[in-house]
């Protein structure tokens, strides 16, 4: 891994399993990644690829049972946060790590005013008085671009539109100046013109506040526009990791390559036919003993069926979990 700005979050060999009536589901398998100060890390994958479960595991948001974090370490602020008590986790989530979810309507409480929901973390975690909290809440709404911020504190969530609610969620997540903001598909439920507004807002506050952001999405277009570095997930594993420019210019994993080719373009020549990836994403009922992409991969060979490829470094900022890359003389990643 590269030096440069300090690493503020490090995830090692994270493994999360769900216990279901039909047996175990191996949702996250040996996931490693790190996050540097001020960086925006994009996490791309389809539904069921394990991207949300990975992030929920980090900060203890998965109900257990059915979830079980079987292995791994998550180093934040010099300690492993996987073993923390629920109380310590609450403080961590309130103050150090902010969260924005996909659907703002279900993550805001409909019976409390927006002002109350914004002030709650401020009073609980920052020890502000009611008056101080109200002032900061108004500043926060102003920061995320809600007009008449002071008046709107006494409004309820249903009085805001979808885009405005997502701005409120971002304001709550930013309330206590977190070091990390985790955004799970924050713009997926929004229209494109509203999504453009939110992306613009994120670009602005990122520069202003300098926090690190993990941005989970299935939309490669969104990633191209805001991320510094990207990890691609498939079947509960990270299959490729690179800087955003590298990933789009020289994708090396067959899944990343295929994914980039399936998206029709908004300009330039039109393909007569879309390139599609045959088959279905895997059902993760077994601990992986093969490459999860093998059944759909056009380059698959014998070894892919018998062994799950580890991530190989192609250079200091690009690694890929594919035997094709390891054959070309790359060195082992972990």
């Amino acid at each position: 891994m590269t030096s440069g700005p300090e690493t503020i979050l490090e995830v090692n060999a994270l493994k999360t399993v769900f216990h279901t009536r039909g047996g175990e589901i191996h949702a996250v398998n040996s996931v490693d990644f790190s996050l540097k100060r001020g960086e925006l890390l994009g996490v791309v994958g389809e539904s069921g690829s394990g991207k949300s479960v990975t992030m929920m595991s980090l900060i203890g948001l998965l109900p257990s049972p059915p979830a079980e974090i079987r292995e791994g370490r998550v180093i934040f602020g010099g300690r492993n946060i996987l073993g923390l008590s629920e109380r310590e986790l609450r403080t961590l989530r309130g103050r150090d790590i902010g969260f924005v979810f996909q659907d703002p309507m279900t993550s805001l409480n409909p019976v409390f005013t927006v002002g109350y929901q914004l002030m709650e973390p401020l009073r609980e975690h920052m020890g502000l008085s009611r008056r101080q909290a109200a002032a900061r809440a108004a500043d926060l709404l102003d920061l995320v671009g809600i007009p008449d911020a002071r008046q709107r504190l006494s409004d309820y969530p249903h009085q805001f539109s979808g885009g405005m609610r997502q701005r409120v969620m971002i304001a709550i997540a930013l309330a206590c100046d977190p070091k990390i903001l985790i955004a799970d598909e924050p713009t997926t439920a929004l229209d494109v013109t509203i999504q453009a507004q939110i992306l613009e807002l994120i670009r602005k506050i990122r520069n202003q506040l300098g926090m690190a952001i993990i941005w989970i999405t299935h939309d490669l277009g969104v990633i191209a526009g805001i991320a510094d570095r990207v990890v691609v997930m498939y079947g509960g594993q990270i299959v490729e990791q690179a800087t955003v420019a590298k990933l789009f210019a020289e994708p090396r994993h067959p899944y990343t390559q295929a994914l980039l080719q399936t998206i029709p373009s908004l300009r330039g020549a039109r393909n007569h036919r879309l390139n599609s990836i045959p088959g279905q994403p895997p059902i993760l009922a077994f601990a992986p003993s093969a490459c999860p992409f093998m059944p759909r991969c056009t380059h698959a060979f014998d070894r892919c069926a018998n062994e799950n490829p580890a991530r190989w470094d192609l250079d200091e900022s690009h690694d890929v979990a594919c035997f094709l890359a390891s054959n070309n003389g790359a060195s082992s990643h972990v």
Binding site: A196, G225, I277
Partner: protein, 327 residues
């Protein structure tokens, strides 16, 4: 298409939502017309009104020269086989307690007098043509993945050999890698069976791939309608321009240097639309006239219509009322 707004214990009508207001367009045989717009703009209502799933408030719809806007009952029922629909959410549009065979053969039960063996035959060949294994005929929808369920929905729509299909966001609920499979299937079927599609979507790059002409809707009106390449290369309406510039592209280089038109605010409520042009509250190029006079569509040549005061109507394309569709 106006929906009443009712209130109070007696459900008195207190107003109306002009979900689709004064929309006119043609669809030509064998083509795909893309209909794009944001949520709440009325694009699904247009699709459903054309198929007469709603009773329209005013206007006329004709399919193959036959006016269907005001007909009802058995006359309408006889027209149904020619026009079908594929819905957005395959989970919600398939009855979980029916087997795939009974779902696909239901239109056959209703509209044909095939013998049971012929029906099963037909179901099997429909499943083949949408790429489903006919051995799974007796399974239930929950046993299939999202993409496969959408194939079941497509097979059902094809059962009566329709000529015209409204595809209402057929890929919006699917993963990226599955979307391409379904789109390729729709294209293959169109080539094979000579189908005409109205493809409703908010995904502008997918519409560019599939449609031959594209209509853009905003708050119940069509603001621009043009052949595909014209629309994507030289959009004229400020809304179309903003919409296209808001679509994130999978190209970091371009994204870094791109000029975006960021629209201010939200879409106004269709129950209380702005006077004049409905886009006047968010338009970056708004003029005084826009706030009072609704713009009439003007023809810029080569089938490119735009409803905006920036392009004064020279030819005066007229201001027909209602939906006029030919498939």
């Amino acid at each position: 298409m106006y929906f009443p707004i009712v209130a109070g214990v007696f459900r008195r009508k207190v107003g109306e939502v002009k979900a689709v207001d004064d929309v006119s367009f043609d669809i030509f045989e064998g083509e795909t017309l893309g209909l794009v717009g944001e949520s709440g703009c009325g694009k699904s209502t247009v699709g459903r009104s054309i198929l007469r799933l709603y009773d329209i408030t005013a206007g006329e719809i004709s399919i193959d020269g036959a006016a269907i806007g005001q007909i009802s009952g058995s006359t309408l029922r006889r027209m149904r086989p020619a026009m079908q629909m594929v819905f957005q959410d395959p989970q919600a549009s398939l009855n979980p307690r029916m087997t795939v065979a009974s779902i696909i053969s239901e239109p056959l039960e209703e509209h044909t007098s095939l013998s049971p063996e012929d029906k099963l035959d037909r179901v099997g060949s429909l499943m083949d043509s949408v790429g489903l294994n006919r051995d799974f005929m007796n399974r239930y929808p929950h046993e299939f993945s999202g993409g496969q369920r959408q194939r079941i929905g497509i097979a059902r729509a094809l059962a009566l050999n329709p000529r015209f299909i409204v595809c209402d966001e057929p890929i919006a609920a699917l993963d990226v890698s599955i979307q391409a499979q379904v789109i390729n299937l729709l294209e293959d079927l169109q080539a094979e069976l000579g189908l005409t599609y109205l493809f409703i979507s908010h995904d502008l790059s997918m519409v560019r791939h599939l449609a031959s002409r594209v209509a853009v809707m905003y708050l119940g009106k069509i603001v621009e309608l043009a052949p595909r390449d014209t629309l994507y290369e030289s959009p004229r309406h400020p809304y179309t321009q903003a919409l296209l510039s808001a679509v994130p592209e999978p190209d970091p280089e371009r994204e870094a240097h791109r000029e975006r038109i960021i629209l201010k605010g939200d879409v106004p409520s269709p129950a209380n639309p702005p006077k004049g042009c409905t886009f006047c509250t968010r338009c970056p190029k708004v003029m005084d006239v826009c706030r009072t006079v609704p713009p009439a569509p003007s023809l810029l040549g080569d089938g490119h219509e735009v409803a905006c005061h920036l392009y004064p109507s020279g030819s005066g394309l007229g201001n027909e009322t209602g939906t006029n569709t030919e498939a």
